[in-house]
């Protein structure tokens, strides 16, 4: 497991490809569900592909500087990196990616990495909306990550490891070995963070088109925007994979992966379609009041 083989690289790219397509279709399906809740027909499920091609096909683009270029690249690197360092399928020889001992810490870092890169890039675009959006986004994501960090401490203490593969291994052997049942408080705390960082209502004030128009990506267009759309497809799936591995027993096949990720994603989607949007300070207060105490309790219980 710890030794590196060159064959891991094409395997990891294959994983990336599967996850990209899965993410593109799943986000479209989620949008379609949201549309059906609103009584609309909704977009076709291949719409995200068309938008992606369209944005790459735009003929003109402008730049505001080097960081403006690098912002979407960092963002995409955050999503891809997160995916590559997390074992996607437990027990599979080729979908292990580059996981190693202590990869949990790295994964936590990558969750944040994209947002930071985006902050730098959007900041250089010079648009006031982007700056406001970035400060809102950083405040909210930082706060939402806190319950997750606490939950991760809790399960690290519980399983005596920081290796995601070992955590998944410890959860094998039936439904009741999942962290969901062995440490429900940590799971609840982490789910607060999950819903909070998925950029869906009620916590989507950062990216919502109706707020200060669309927040950090205000100035992003054409191929930059296409990169960010790619990330929007990969990143939620990668993040969901972490949660699945840590709390819901991981996945031992692509079928199980698809079902579990979809079910987890649906949690935030369903919460999203029935809830109005929080302002930033409201959501921060919400996480302080509910997420953090549950996380602290989870550590104490272990």
């Amino acid at each position: 497991m710890s030794s590196f083989h060159w064959v891991q690289i094409p395997y990891a790219l294959l994983t990336l490809f599967i996850v990209l397509n899965y993410g593109l279709i799943m986000t479209a399906v989620v949008q379609k569900i949201a549309a059906r809740v609103g009584g609309r027909h909704g977009i076709p499920f291949w719409q995200n592909y068309i938008d992606l091609v369209k944005n790459f096909a735009q003929r003109s683009k402008i730049t505001h500087g080097v960081m403006f270029y690098l912002g979407p690249v960092f963002r995409l690197a955050g999503g891809v990196g997160l995916l590559l360092f997390v074992p996607t399928i437990y027990g599979s020889t080729w979908a292990q990616n580059f996981s190693f001992a202590g990869d949990l810490v790295l994964a936590l870092y990558f969750v944040f990495f994209g947002t930071l890169g985006m902050a730098l890039g959007a900041g250089e675009s010079g648009h006031p909306h982007a700056a406001i959006g970035v400060s809102r986004g950083l405040a909210q994501v930082t706060m939402a990550e806190l319950p997750l960090a606490l939950a991760v401490y809790a399960i690290a203490v519980q399983y005596h490891t920081l290796n995601i593969t070992e955590i998944v291994a410890a959860q094998q052997g039936g439904l009741f070995h999942w962290t969901l049942f062995t440490n429900p408080l940590a799971t609840v705390a982490a789910m607060f963070a999950f819903v909070g960082t998925m950029m869906r209502p009620p916590f989507d004030v950062v990216l919502a088109p109706q707020e200060i128009p669309i927040g950090p990506p205000t100035e992003y267009h054409s191929a930059y925007l296409a990169l960010m759309q790619t990330n929007r497809a990969i990143f939620p799936v990668a993040k969901t994979v972490i949660y699945m591995n840590l709390f819901f027993g991981g996945a031992s096949s692509w079928g199980e992966f698809a079902i579990k990720v979809f079910a987890l994603y649906m949690v935030s989607a369903f919460i999203g379609v029935v809830h109005p949007r929080f302002r930033v300070e409201q959501s921060i207060r919400f996480f302080m009041k509910w997420g953090v105490p549950v996380g602290v309790l989870a550590i104490l219980m272990v």
């Binding site: 719409q47 735009q58 402008i62 109706q210 669309i214 992003y220």
Partner: protein, 229 residues
């Protein structure tokens, strides 16, 4: 029909530039003297370029197909027609199923709908919004006001012919057109794009001087750079 009365005509009068836009010398907090020229410092002056099509026709056709199925409208309503755009998002018409969606920022949009009469003041904003969009971009003129002035044909402050000022790809006639007419307009625009005939962006770049001359003839207080990319 012409009813020209020369007695009050003061067309030659020029409007002074607003004070905050004039070039001036200021002292920075650390004591340096610098000259600033607000209309030049913050903007790039390069005129728009003509962007060639993709080299292979089949690639261009594929791109055009993608563009036609992913029309992102700039959420910018200028007149009463903005009201007719809103129902398109609702369950009854649901334009999203045609790949049409609304974007809040001109950078990400590629379709500008001039929805109704356009006053000179709004024209200024519409030009800025249009120039900030990334090509290929399309313009739809909605309603008879954009075609020949409509019921505002004798108004002192609305333009009468949109295609003098912006490269219009498609007009939708009516006062006001119903949302169904708009949907039909989208479908016609898709046909135009797929046929490769919606090249308004390049037309604007090629005839940039004449478009600018027309715009400046009605916007008396031109207080922005010539091109806002």
């Amino acid at each position: 029909m012409k009813d020209i009365d020369e007695t009050f005509r003061k067309i030659d009068a020029t409007v002074p530039l607003r004070e905050e836009l004039r070039p001036r010398t200021v002292t920075t907090p650390d004591g340096q003297e610098i000259t600033i020229e607000p209309l030049k410092d913050y903007f790039c002056e390069a005129a728009p370029k003509v962007h060639p099509k993709a080299y292979f026709q089949i690639v261009e056709n594929f791109y055009n197909w993608a563009r036609s199925n992913s029309l992102w409208i700039l959420g910018f309503g200028t007149g009463c027609g903005a009201i007719e755009m809103r129902p398109l998002m609702t369950p009854r018409f649901d334009a999203y199923r045609y790949g049409v969606q609304w974007r809040p920022t001109p950078r990400q949009a590629n379709l500008l709908i001039i929805s109704g009469y356009l006053s000179v003041k709004t024209l200024k904003r519409a030009i800025r919004a249009y120039e900030q969009m990334q090509g290929p971009k399309y313009v739809i003129g909605l309603g008879s006001c954009t075609i020949n002035g409509g019921m505002y044909w004798d108004s002192y402050n609305t333009i009468k012919r949109l295609d003098d000022y912006l490269p219009v790809d498609l007009y939708i006639a009516g006062c006001m057109p119903r949302p169904e007419a708009l949907l039909h307009g989208f479908i016609e625009l898709k046909k135009l794009i797929r046929a490769g005939k919606a090249e308004g962006t390049n037309r604007y770049a090629e005839n940039f001087a004449s478009y600018k001359a027309a715009q400046k003839s009605v916007i008396k207080d031109w207080d922005m750079p010539d091109y806002n990319w």
